[in-house]
Symmetry: D4
Amino acid sequence: MELDDITISRAIIEKFSKDLLNYLDVDVAIVGAGPSGIVAAYYLAKAKKKVVVLERKLSIGGGMWGGGMMFNKIVVQEKAKFILDEFEISYECYDADYYIADSIEAVSTLCSQATKAGAKFFNLMFVEDVRIQNERINGLVINWSAVETSKLHVDPLTISAKFVIDATGHAAEIANTVVKKTPRMGPIFGGMLLSGRAVAEKIISTDVLSV
Amino acid sequence: MELDDITISRAIIEKFSKDLLNYLDVDVAIVGAGPSGIVAAYYLAKAKKKVVVLERKLSIGGGMWGGGMMFNKIVVQEKAKFILDEFEISYECYDADYYIADSIEAVSTLCSQATKAGAKFFNLMFVEDVRIQNERINGLVINWSAVETSKLHVDPLTISAKFVIDATGHAAEIANTVVKKTPRMGPIFGGMLLSGRAVAEKIISTDVLSV
Amino acid sequence: MELDDITISRAIIEKFSKDLLNYLDVDVAIVGAGPSGIVAAYYLAKAKKKVVVLERKLSIGGGMWGGGMMFNKIVVQEKAKFILDEFEISYECYDADYYIADSIEAVSTLCSQATKAGAKFFNLMFVEDVRIQNERINGLVINWSAVETSKLHVDPLTISAKFVIDATGHAAEIANTVVKKTPRMGPIFGGMLLSGRAVAEKIISTDVLSV
Amino acid sequence: MELDDITISRAIIEKFSKDLLNYLDVDVAIVGAGPSGIVAAYYLAKAKKKVVVLERKLSIGGGMWGGGMMFNKIVVQEKAKFILDEFEISYECYDADYYIADSIEAVSTLCSQATKAGAKFFNLMFVEDVRIQNERINGLVINWSAVETSKLHVDPLTISAKFVIDATGHAAEIANTVVKKTPRMGPIFGGMLLSGRAVAEKIISTDVLSV
Amino acid sequence: MELDDITISRAIIEKFSKDLLNYLDVDVAIVGAGPSGIVAAYYLAKAKKKVVVLERKLSIGGGMWGGGMMFNKIVVQEKAKFILDEFEISYECYDADYYIADSIEAVSTLCSQATKAGAKFFNLMFVEDVRIQNERINGLVINWSAVETSKLHVDPLTISAKFVIDATGHAAEIANTVVKKTPRMGPIFGGMLLSGRAVAEKIISTDVLSV
Amino acid sequence: MELDDITISRAIIEKFSKDLLNYLDVDVAIVGAGPSGIVAAYYLAKAKKKVVVLERKLSIGGGMWGGGMMFNKIVVQEKAKFILDEFEISYECYDADYYIADSIEAVSTLCSQATKAGAKFFNLMFVEDVRIQNERINGLVINWSAVETSKLHVDPLTISAKFVIDATGHAAEIANTVVKKTPRMGPIFGGMLLSGRAVAEKIISTDVLSV
Amino acid sequence: MELDDITISRAIIEKFSKDLLNYLDVDVAIVGAGPSGIVAAYYLAKAKKKVVVLERKLSIGGGMWGGGMMFNKIVVQEKAKFILDEFEISYECYDADYYIADSIEAVSTLCSQATKAGAKFFNLMFVEDVRIQNERINGLVINWSAVETSKLHVDPLTISAKFVIDATGHAAEIANTVVKKTPRMGPIFGGMLLSGRAVAEKIISTDVLSV
Amino acid sequence: MELDDITISRAIIEKFSKDLLNYLDVDVAIVGAGPSGIVAAYYLAKAKKKVVVLERKLSIGGGMWGGGMMFNKIVVQEKAKFILDEFEISYECYDADYYIADSIEAVSTLCSQATKAGAKFFNLMFVEDVRIQNERINGLVINWSAVETSKLHVDPLTISAKFVIDATGHAAEIANTVVKKTPRMGPIFGGMLLSGRAVAEKIISTDVLSV
């Protein structure tokens, strides 16, 4: 039997819009799907949090694909090795405390494991603004990133989130927006593999206590 | 102890150049790391072939990340379902013969499994030309894709391969180059998940007989 | 009471996806929402056909907004005057057989009336290809136009239509695609106000006889 | 009889230049033809004010065409519903206090009704500067927007207006220009549907008292 | 007394639209205001022909401003020297049969004298197409060149001309358009100073005989 | 006899380099060849000053070619009429104190007369910096403008001038450079026709007294 | 004593224009200053031919600077080793018949030696066309390459040459131009180090016989 | 015997990676390979320092190739003449204290001699940041410049250096980065030929004393 392209179109639209409606209201929204954002999403999902990651680019993984200077290898030090083990990423030891891995295996495996753990990724979306109520960030104003690159004048939509993590790295886009709007309760900065884990733990423990 | 950035730089350069030297001579070179190229690489690697995949973009996966119209879902029909099972990609049944999966989980898992199976990916490289000896394609002329996008005048290097697979999809870049150069023994076209599997099988069986 | 932006987001996603699913299968699909496409859509909708118009740009109306050389007036001759009357567009007589109208009133009124008559417009979408079965065009392969302008590698979706009208004007994009694929049953070319009406009539009468 | 293209050219040039000369001196000049600017123009025109709207783009309507995230629907709350009724825009009730409409019908109908009410739109023009006499804004310095996008060095022309409304939204271009020039009597900011109505009412009542 | 900018705007619009209406119907339309087009216009105007020159750029003069390789001098040979004398352009003798002039004086003086002789120039306009009736070119379809450079979708207007001269030089834009449309009576090619004179003489004599 | 292109090349290079060497040391250097710069150059040249005008663009005349909003007419008031008379530019009276002229005739005639009066123009050059000695501007640092637009890394040359006039209009490029370098003896701003005359008179009288 | 920038400017203009005039008439003109063009120029200059090399880029050396894939090394085989010796370029032996050198030393030394041998380079110039008389190429039509990249409309100049060598490599720009113009006596193609030497020898010997 | 392209590829990768590993730890790192950076590198290399020069462009030499205003000559004054002698660059005397040379011979010879003296150049790399430990700059964070021009998100590598020289000229990129990070021990600025020599001498003498 032939593939029926109308059935396929119907399936994709139905499932995607159901997912998008479902994720309009989450526990944690992570901005940026680099290594740090993916790791945070993984641990939060494993802790049964409802977590969504918003990524501006078509693909997930940020700068990790390119290794160092386009030489596609990454190096991890002793204290972060447990993350490679947790995600089952292959590595070799190099010089006592350093472990070297293939950047392509590393980043695709991080992403694969995070999705299997239950984290939800929306790619091709960017965050225009944060949503603030009573001096606390509790959501994000989002749009298709193609709207921005095409310089289209199109309004955004909004999602609600108990916690927001800025994992855009050097750019720190969300943190900068917040600083302009309110001095209190800035988002927590992500960074590398370990910081993704650290942020996740902080939110998990906070949540147990206060929500 | 602090991360020593010079040691990290040394590790990355050493390992990458060792890999690149190792893969100057392969059994199969695949051009384009979309779903079809990844699947072919996976089955070839599992059959113990030395296989390299060359991808022009920073990330692996081609157009699969974006689902249909940026709605990040993919649909697979009955006869290709075994590939989802082989790679352990989650899916739901939709309407009898159709299975729907998350495009991000699907593409990252394909890539993760192919690397673990032993396929080697070089991203950020593109193929300028094919290498032909005695009217048979037996290698590729490659360069950094950033050389092309930066419009730099920089010469390429060459890799040797017993078989070449054109998995650039609609573009069919390699096939077009070959047609201009020699009428015989064009590369084998990849397409979707199933065709990736089919091409791999063909090469594996050919190889048993003739190499 | 404040506007609840999450409720608004939910309403927009729910209603849009319901509409999009509904219009995956139509009587007539019109490509291009210039004056001719709008007029055809209006008459078809009034004849109770299920009609969808796909427009690449953000706004509906094509080149009519700019009048002649950015002087925002349009001129209509005697035999097309009945369309101005039908849509209730104001005009003045100029030189016996010529009627002059404000281009902004004309194009916004055409669009307003067509939507009220029941025609459905999807803006920001473009047609990548036609769908052909048994040598007959019976659908369109569509994508967001922002995918094209952003040069993203993202796959399209498909809609099914009993008739397809090419109202892209000089570009004649659909007709050109068809000519490459099949020699029979090309789409019907639109042109100006009158031709929009003529095409609509032709399809309406055909439909009475054969569908 | 054939259309005589020279007669058409003559008609367009004559009528447009007559209109442009007529609108060099108006009661109210509105900068920006988004929803708020259109609504203000409508109510002012109904109150018999001579009103001109200057729009930089080819089409009228701003960001309303794209709904939310390119999903072409708009949502209006209870207190603004009367505007939908006034303009005869179709809507459905969604969740108690929210009304949902088709964005294409909404924006084209707003524009159609405003032109019929007597508001004059010049599209493809942008405002380079404001005209100030005795510390009061009383006009605008305008040019073709294509002069700006083509980076041509071409001087502007001037129009005189008793009142100026900045309806450029977030950009607030005119207000920013004024702040640099004079601290008193800044233009009145437009915003959404309701604010367009509010600004119109304010000017209408002011006018009764003071002009 | 202060300059009244509204009076100035009114004067410019009134006079320009009067001129444009007047030149919708001419004896000769010249496309391209390089040296050859200017010289042709000059001689035709002196012979009392109603002549209009359409130039795509902001300024008149084409490539003559830049001399050779941006060294702003021009060289004229013996047999064309009479044109320098006719226009009163200064020159020095260089090597027997060659005369050298300042390119800036040369091109501005050509243009100044042509306008004084009665030739009418419209700059910032380009020719989209020719107008053909009974297999004879008898007019031009024109638009603002800023419409083209801004990639705006705006319709053109038309002017009527007994003769059309293609003085676009190497580009030969009009001639190419004509060849596609009709094999007979292509426009007459301009080239350099002498050819401008030659074309003018040919039209003047033709005119005496046949119009 | 044929034109000998080598002789022509030789003539152009010889004469241009002789001129350029000659104008490395001038009385007055004017930056910008808009109407104001041309008028100043004319009066200074008539007063026997050695004057050079440096223009970034290919053509001379700045924004005057485009009239107002691309309607190619200019308006001059009573007190500047004498300049139209001095340069022999045709005009008509419009409304008591206003005179209207063709912008193309006006700007080409200004330029033609200024060159005949002895002013030297170098087009296609821009001013990178001013030359300052003893806190007084006494020269300009120049380069080809094509070096800047091509983003080439090429060093400039220098010319010496007793006076420098900034006639770049709104941009006031030279004035801004000077303000950064030295607080005293800024260049004199040009503006319109009259200000060009005024600046010229000021320099002529200064010169008589002090140089 | 301070550097006098006016004297420097004078020296540069005087010497450059003297050189340019001198090289309007040469024995051999080489188009493209890659390795092959430089080597040909070197041997021709050593044989006392008057030789000029025209290079489009700012720097001399073409693609040799970048080695292979931006790894700045070059490899030369046995039979071309004598050129490394002739130019005194350092190298190491790699694998029997291969010699490896630093690409930066190699290309800068080639260029340095060629200039010392008497070859004249003009950089920043490109060749618009060839000059043909009696079906034989005997010169080049040249312009500044910045004229082309800035899309300026500026005419070229011409140089006369007894022989023309196309050393533009893959582009073969001159050869393509010639093929369109005349079927006989195409330019001789350059390629790599050895071919540069070969072409030089061919011209030197030809010259002895026939000129 | 034919050139074996795989052997060539192998040789280039092996030697380049060996060099790059070797230069991860140097005495002096120079940023920018203009004349000043090359001269500094030459003298440091002659003094037996391990010196690396990092250049963003494909070619070495910066703006010296273009002479003044693309006239490819350079002028050197009396006190710097010894550098021309040291490098064996040809020159002529012009006006007492000025010496004029061919810019192409000058820059290629500077580069050729510096490499022969032992300085190592890496072209096509740029410096993202400096490495600071204990408030002292002791290294550079580098990347391929094609990564930057292609706007790729790829991480850098690091090199260690006892001294860093900023020879980026006007840009002073490294100095600016340092000022932002630490107030002490900024890098030493390079400038022209003489300053390159001066900086080299300063580091050589410093080194004798303190390292």
